[in-house]
Amino acid sequence: MRGRLLVDDISVEIRPGEVLAILGPSGSGKSSLLRLLNRLDEPTSGTVYLDDVDYRAIPPRELRRKVGMVTQRAVLFPGTVYHNVGFGPAQRGEEFSESKVADLLARVGLSGYSGRDVANLSGGEAQRISLARALANAPLVLLLDEPTSALDQEAKEGVESLINEIIRTERLTCVIVTHDIAQAKRMASRILVLQNGRAAKIGSVEEALNA
């Protein structure tokens, strides 16, 4: 990875409550760009502003609590669903009550799953837990890295409509990486098309896909 620019010369403003989709072929830098947004990787130049504050001025843990992330394959920690959902708050020493976990699980359609071992979950269920776990931090921004591409068709539709519903009701600012144009159209209000790590197009769904 060293010595090669993965993303370059991208300037984009994401408005509060907006859903921006990042489209592009494999290797175009979609996931790399996403990892810069919660500072899992460090930009070699340039920066990101969160509510007009340079994110390098925000302590990384606080930044990552505000900017949640759901990855392509749900990486759950060994143990129970409860342990996973309460992971973020527990890192700050916050008590995350059973009823709060139950509320979150109800929102992702998995009521009664709190005591289950994550080893016994299906792919779709695991992704829902991963979403609930990110939401437990009460983020301002949600980063979604191809959240449905590892799921089978049925689970894919369920998880997509769940995410859609949650980001609309919570008015979450959302950046979703996808290679599925139809999904981008269904979920996003604007689209950024990446090619070789650079912004090829950016605009409303119609502008970006038809121009």
């Binding site: 899992l40 460090e42 843990r61 990552r64 609590r65």
Partner: protein, 261 residues
Amino acid sequence: MLNRWFTDPLQLGLAQAVAASTVALAVVLLARGRKIHIEKDSVIALIRGLVQIVAVGSVLVLFLKASRWTGALLLAAMILVAGFVSRKRAKGLPGALQVSTLSIACGAGSVIAMMVALGVIDTAITTLLPVGSMLIANAMNTNGLALNRFRSDVLAHAGEIETALALGADPRQSVAPYVQAAFEASLIPAIDSLRSLGIVWIPGLMAGMLLSGSRPLYAAIYQFVVLAMIFAASGLTSLVSTLLIRTQAFTPAEQLSLRAE
């Protein structure tokens, strides 16, 4: 048989070395008969081993009457070399040399100092150096095992670690399971040595003491003492090195920097 022909200890020693080497070379020839060629490596290793140990023996003779401070200085030099050797087990982790040297110095160094102060290790250089070097060598191996295990676990669990970071976890918390696994795995040899002591093996030091005429019971107890000291030195080394190395896998901005090439 040999001791009837040679009465001078040095001559006897050389004759015994020749006898043992001959058996070793016979094994090399047996291997050669099966088309396994280890001639070069084995001969070099045998000669190198003999030269090294004779050199150390000669140096020990020179230092027989040296002060305890000379002994301490030699042990310190050994610690530096040990740190240098085991740093290679943490490829890709910055500060591995400092972490290794500091951990071995804390682990082996403090146990040696404590045991010397209590009179468990005699300050005579003929005791201090061999016993001290045993503690340092074992601390070095433990440190190498701990770093190696930590490194491979972090590489294998990058997804879990970054998931924890992305949820706002403290980097130290995100690698806690791998720190614990590295600590436990690094102590397996020291624990197994203690467990099998006397049953599976009678270690070199005890054999040496018996050969040099110590009372068997004292030799046996002292062997246990040495292994207990090795366990303490190794455990302390591993505790320190896993504590220090865990933050070395991250950048100041709490990003995982250790990645598969």
